[in-house]
């Protein structure tokens, strides 16, 4: 009983409270009166940010940049929605978006996949877009990325590099590595493509695999990468979000290579990130916004973003160009062309299940 005591502080408190009570009453009164009426023009679009939030320097940030740019270009009123509890609030959040005059809602949060069809059918006048998974519904557009294709190219490049001589970052062992964030089909889609690409170049190349079981722990990433380098790997590809920062750091420390993912991570450790496997969530969002703004929203359809569309791909080796032999770059280009032309079909774990090289 100390600082709250005394008549003076009591008077002060009572005044504070009555003031705040008044203001709350006022808020409620005016709040109910000025309900915003849904307006037709201008077109409004909302972007629901996924777990991890903005500032992840990857998926969310990239999507956000595409959203900001495209809504501005197309004159659409764009609004982002973040939540600290995006998993549990999904239902209420999306429903509220459905009743708030938005014509388009793009949802980046993967765990909303199951609830989306119900909500979309409850709000048929709103267009809904979902990334990374195919969701059925006449007013839902799904965007899928062909990450297996870009990972295939990365695997092929890594296999060619690991047999290189005269590069201090490359050791004699024919070993490369890959670290997944979690053991799931969504991640194994990357891993499978990477291994397939590596084996296609040289079937004797050994690919070490590991899972960090977390997307947010750079220390774990660093430890896993260190251990792979010790086992003789010299190039480690990470598909593990924030955990990957540790992989890149370990590559720099041990004078080896890492391969980045999603965003262009080459600049995080110039010269030590061989390349990054791009997944252009910005392009996906931009495409959806543009189609919506033009009145061509592909409801009920799947938008496939592959090498051809530029939705996935490798970086242009800004810092490692001189270390990669001309022949290797040519070979990667050839493979890319073959995939785009349909001559080469990379295994897709999601559609086809696990391939022979990923059993056990």
């Amino acid at each position: 009983m100390s600082y709250f005591d005394g008549v003076g502080s009591l008077l002060m408190r009572t005044r504070l409270v009555s003031l705040s009570l008044l203001s709350v009453v006022a808020l409620v009164a005016t709040g109910c009166a000025s309900e915003t009426a849904p307006q037709a023009p201008p077109k409004k679009a909302a972007l629901v940010i996924a777990q991890g939030g903005l500032g992840d320097e990857s998926y969310n940030d990239l999507a956000m940049s595409g959203f900001t740019a495209s809504t501005k270009e197309k004159g659409v009123d764009g609004q982002k929605i973040e939540s600290t509890d995006v998993v549990a609030q999904g239902d209420q959040l999306l429903r509220r978006a459905g009743t708030s005059g938005y014509g388009l809602v793009i949802d980046l949060e993967f765990s909303h996949g199951e609830i989306l069809p119900g909500i979309a059918s409850a709000y048929p006048n709103v267009q809904w877009a979902f990334l990374n998974n195919k969701i059925n519904g006449p007013n839902i557009a799904s965007v899928l990325f062909a990450e297996q294709d870009s990972s295939y190219l990365a695997g092929a490049l890594a296999a060619m590099m690991t047999t290189q001589t005269g590069n201090p970052k490359i050791n004699p062992d024919k070993k490369i590595g890959v670290i997944g964030g979690t053991k799931s089909v969504g991640i194994d889609k990357f891993l499978s493509g990477y291994i397939e690409g590596a084996k296609s170049v040289d079937k004797d190349v050994q690919v070490l695999t590991a899972y960090s079981n977390t997307f947010g722990d750079p220390t774990k990433g660093s430890q896993l990468a260190e251990s792979m380098f010790q086992q003789g790997a010299d190039i480690v590809y990470h598909v593990a979000g924030g955990t990957g920062a540790g992989v890149i750091e370990a590559a720099k420390k041990n004078n080896h290579y890492a391969i980045g993912v999603d965003d262009n991570q080459d600049k995080l450790a110039p010269g030590f990130v061989l390349t990054s496997v791009l997944k252009r969530s910005d392009l996906a969002v931009r495409k959806v916004v543009e189609l919506y703004a033009d009145g061509k929203f592909p409801g009920g359809q799947v938008i496939n973003l592959g090498l051809k569309e530029g939705g996935v791909g490798l970086t242009d080796f800004e810092f490692t160009r001189n270390e990669i032999p001309e022949s290797a770059r040519t070979k990667v280009d050839e493979l890319k062309k073959k995939i785009i032309a349909g001559e080469l079909k990379v295994w897709n774990v999601i559609d086809q299940g696990y391939p022979s090289w990923m059993q056990g």
Partner: protein
């Protein structure tokens, strides 16, 4: 004793004092938030008005607020019960998460009721060891419950990426629970589940139990003065153990309700720290039933309104974090003064 209490021995003025004291952190938070809003060129009144509307301005919004408050009712209550016995249990988060995983797994096979029971038992399991260590050897419960949280995070993270992971799902999640085993919706389509009724029933039960049951009496006395309690023949160790087990059961049940009602599976990001917000709820509500209920609704309102307010305003979510963060700091200051 304050002059106020001395000169006004009436029941209502004491009640008023308590309400005033409980409201102080919130009022200061609004003031602080207002300053930040003004400094960034926004109109605080307009924003607060928006928040009130998004929290309570319609059946759908009230449903959203209650839905967001539901996990906090469980974690706040679980924390309050342990605090009341003088046990500073910060392991409610672990009980909630583990309860959620086990409930989601069991419900897949055995249905809703079995899932709820299993979730509560899982929570009990999480709190049993720290409870025993505290009761038997007086091992500091803050350390042990905090460690248990880490263990649970590790174990659930591992299970959900190995044995319990759903086939063909692209992220770390268990399989979707069939709709027959979901907690029923109260106000379709607003997504408010019967879980909130379970929570409120527990809060009412707690209010009566802590005040009028023999065990509740022993729990209160143990929390107020363990030495006195022991000398009067209250088995302090047993009371501490019981309080931890009940706390764990409520935490686990909370996880079960969250899994079976809202998420319909266990998934990465299942709890954004409900257990820790529950500590603030319990502190703010002074471990009383009414206080916990109000605290949970307050934080629930901030969470639900803060999210959907972004649909109507350019003000970032951060300002809502400032509000709830300020309230939490005051709750913790109170704790510090108590200890």
């Amino acid at each position: 004793m304050s002059v106020f209490q001395g000169s006004n021995p009436g029941k209502y003025s004491r009640a008023l004092t308590r309400v005033v004291r409980a409201a102080v952190p919130f009022v200061i938070a609004l003031g602080l938030g207002g300053i930040v809003l003004l400094a960034t060129g926004h109109n605080p009144l307009a924003f607060y008005q928006l928040l009130v509307r998004e929290a309570f301005g319609g059946v759908d919004r009230i449903a959203a607020t209650l839905s967001a408050a539901t996990p906090l009712l469980f974690t706040g209550l679980a924390t309050a019960i342990a605090f009341r016995a003088g046990v500073f249990n910060v392991g409610v988060e672990g009980g909630f998460v583990f309860g959620g995983l086990i409930a989601a797994t069991v419900a897949l096979q055995a249905g809703l009721l079995a899932g709820m029971v299993a979730g509560a038992l899982a929570g009990v399991l999480v709190s049993a060891l720290p409870g025993w260590l505290k009761a038997r050897w007086n091992v500091d419960e803050v350390v042990t419950t905090l460690m248990v949280n880490f263990v649970v995070a590790g174990v659930t993270g591992w299970l959900v990426t190995t044995f319990l992971q759903a086939k063909g799902v692209a992220n770390s999640a268990t399989a979707l629970i069939p709709q027959g085993s979901w907690l029923p919706d109260l106000l379709p389509p607003y997504g408010l589940t019967a879980g909130v009724l379970v929570a409120l029933a527990l809060v009412v039960l707690y209010a009566v139990w802590i005040k009028h049951s023999v065990l509740g009496y022993e729990l209160r006395q143990t929390g107020l003065n363990p030495r006195f309690s022991a000398a009067q023949g209250i088995r302090v160790g047993r009371v501490i153990m019981v309080s931890m087990l009940i706390s764990g059961a409520i935490a686990g049940l909370g996880g079960a309700v969250h899994a079976l009602g809202v998420v319909h599976r266990f998934v990465d990001g299942f709890s954004p720290g409900y257990g820790f917000t529950g500590i603030a709820v319990a502190l703010l509500g002074r471990n009383s039933a009414v206080g916990v209920a109000l605290g949970a609704v307050l934080f629930g309102a901030l969470a639900s309104a803060g999210t959907t307010a972004q649909l109507f305003s350019d003000i970032p979510l951060d300002i809502v974090d400032v509000l709830s963060g300020t309230v939490m700091i005051f709750a913790v200051v109170r704790l510090w003064r108590q200890r």
